[in-house]
């Protein structure tokens, strides 16, 4: 009964946060538009580069044809949009401006407004990006070995990818409690993300040892894995193993958040809020 009341209260919070996020976002239509262009351009550049490489090396690189790359990067664009967060910059700003004090005064864990804020902005931006991806599909004519089974498993994989990425980035964002130089940490993170999540190239194009590293670290499970899954490039065993890895990372990051959040608040409340 109590748990149910908690959930209902959180749902109300999430739906109210959606209205707030929506109202804030429409205030900045132009910057939203520019930001979406950058979200589209990055995978588009990789797509064009890899298609060219693939065409000039006999029609295929590492098992991807030009149209295979098109499928990979269009799906990646959407998955990236779905799992993307900006919390690491946000936190640095919050700590610096003392905004966190207000969050700490509220009788609810601040992660909830962040989750709902992120989900809300996705509900708003995803339809636009899907429309763009559909347009690009007409130009680049992607092909993939899509099958229904993969499509079905893709949905939990996508949700888990969002959770892993959100929780890991939220944990990393807490670095702002200890240092004002969060940008350096963010840079390292984005480089790792670029190579190990399958952004700069599909992971199967990398040497074997690097693929093993990618399997151990969380990055692949935030982005590359659901993409490969939807394109039908994974066996059933690989897909199930992937879901297990994602699940494990959710648990690991939840534990990390709990520990680091407490330590961070202790530091914040020791040195001056």
């Amino acid at each position: 009964m109590n748990a149910l009341r908690e959930i209902l209260a959180l749902l109300r919070l999430y739906s109210q946060q959606f209205k707030t996020t929506f109202a804030s976002m429409v205030q900045y239509r132009i910057s939203l538009f520019i930001w979406m262009i950058s979200q589209i351009l990055e995978p588009l550049v990789y797509l064009i580069v890899w298609s060219t490489v693939s065409n000039s090396s006999g029609g295929s690189v590492g098992g991807y044809t030009a149209r295979g790359f098109a499928a990979y990067y269009l799906v990646l664009m959407l998955v990236n949009q779905f799992t993307y967060t900006w919390i690491m910059w946000e936190y640095e700003y919050r700590v610096r401006q003392g905004l966190l004090s207000f969050a700490l005064l509220k009788p609810v864990h601040p992660i909830h407004s962040d989750i709902s804020d992120n989900l809300s902005s996705k509900i708003i931006t995803l339809p636009i990006l899907m429309f763009v991806a559909a347009g690009l599909a007409l130009i680049f004519k992607p092909t993939a070995a899509f099958n229904w089974w993969a499509g079905l498993v893709f949905i939990p994989a996508l949700i888990l990818a969002f959770l892993v990425r959100f929780l890991i980035e939220w944990t990393l964002a807490l670095a702002a409690f200890w240092t004002t130089r969060v940008n350096a940490i963010n840079q390292v993170y984005f480089i790792l993300m670029l190579f190990l999540a399958g952004q700069i190239a599909p992971l199967t194009l990398f040497p074997n040892w690097l693929q093993i590293v990618a399997d151990i670290l969380p990055f692949r499970w935030m982005l590359g894995f659901p993409v490969e899954l939807l394109l039908g490039r994974l066996s059933h065993a690989q897909a199930l193993l992937g879901l297990a890895a994602q699940f494990a990372w959710v648990i690991i990051s939840l534990v990390l958040i709990r520990v680091i959040w407490r330590a961070g608040v202790r530091v914040y409340s020791a040195v001056g809020a």
């Binding site: 209260a9 707030t20 804030s24 205030q27 401006q97 005064l105 202790r266 040195v271």
Partner: protein, 326 residues
């Protein structure tokens, strides 16, 4: 004896800050070896507030007022001593405690910048889990008291400083907190708006019975709202008691204003002449001699009018701090 709403016993907060001299050499040295310095922001502070009291918390910049308020609202962990607010230990930040208090910081904003205040209020409604009826009721009351009507639908960034402060205060009170910490709620506001906010705080306290601890640099705020004041300096308690007793305790002088027929009289034998204008003389005399000097003035001179006053409260406070520094 009712239980105090706020209770502090020997509360301490010491910050450790890196100490560094200026210059390249010192910068390099600090890379390897950091010398830390302890700054006592709050030093064994002890006081109690009864439920429903409005108390002015005074002290110069850096005296430890904000640090104390932050400890009492759970944002800061003390380094020593104890404190309870409504029976809870604030820095545990338990939810039932957080639902009963509020902290308004005059220099910071909690409202979302780009959307109307009404939307931020709705967000607070779900965060504090207020029922629609209670929320409507409180919001109507606050709207009436603070005259928020025309402000609620405008994006916060389009509001003036005073208008924004009114909305900030409303946002902080929607959950009807029983303990209200106000840190410089009138800072930067014009006199009319200051008076408005002041009247509101008094009315809110009367209606809700909430305990209010208020810091302000404007003595008018304190004089209008607080019977009792707590003065701290360098983190230590200097005075705790009635505002009028503060004046008694810390002023060694009284001001005597005499109106004479004779504009050219020389009164320096009676006391220090601070001002003289058209036969109206302002004298400063040691408190103990007030009666004697008054008697002499009346006996010796053709006095039309005579007035004995305490010096203005700002002057008293200023004296308190300079005395302490000396």
């Amino acid at each position: 004896m009712t239980e105090p709403a706020i209770h502090l016993h020997e509360l301490c907060k010491t910050y450790r800050v890196p100490e560094r001299e200026s210059g390249m050499g010192a910068a390099l040295k600090s890379l390897f070896h950091r010398r830390m310095q302890d700054i006592k922001a709050v030093d064994r502070l002890t006081f109690d507030l009864s439920p429903g009291e409005i108390v002015g918390f005074l002290g110069p910049n850096g005296a430890g007022k904000t640090t104390t308020l932050k400890m009492l609202s759970g944002l800061l962990h003390p380094t020593g001593g104890e404190g309870t607010v409504l029976g809870s230990i604030p820095w545990k930040r338990e939810r039932p405690f957080l639902r009963q208090i509020t902290l308004v910081m005059g220099q910071r904003n909690q409202l979302v910048w780009d959307i109307p205040a009404a939307d931020s209020f709705e967000l607070n409604r779900v965060i504090y889990r207020l029922s629609s009826t209670d929320f409507r009721h409180t919001l109507n009351e606050l709207t009436e008291l603070l005259d928020l009507g025309p402000l609620l639908k405008k994006p916060v960034r389009n509001l003036s400083l005073g208008e924004r402060m009114k909305c900030e205060i409303a946002a902080a009170l929607l959950h009807r907190p029983q303990v209200v910490f106000l840190d410089e709620p009138t800072i930067g506001l014009d006199v009319t708006m200051q008076r408005r906010i002041r009247a509101f705080i008094a009315e809110y306290n009367r209606r809700s019975g909430a305990t209010v601890l208020l810091t302000s640099h404007y003595m008018a705020d304190v004089a209008a709202l607080c019977k009792r004041v707590i003065v701290i300096h360098h983190g230590r308690l200097l005075f705790d008691g009635d505002l009028s007793a503060l004046v008694q305790q810390f002023t060694a002088h009284k001001t005597i204003v005499v109106q004479l027929e004779d504009c050219h009289a020389d009164l320096h034998t009676y006391g220090e002449v601070i001002n003289c204008e058209d036969g109206r003389f302002t004298l400063r005399v040691p408190k103990a001699q007030t009666a004697h000097v008054t008697e002499r003035l009346l006996a010796d001179l053709p006095v039309i009018d005579l007035l004995v006053e305490d010096p203005p409260i700002e002057e008293v406070i200023d004296q308190v701090f300079t005395q302490e520094a000396a």
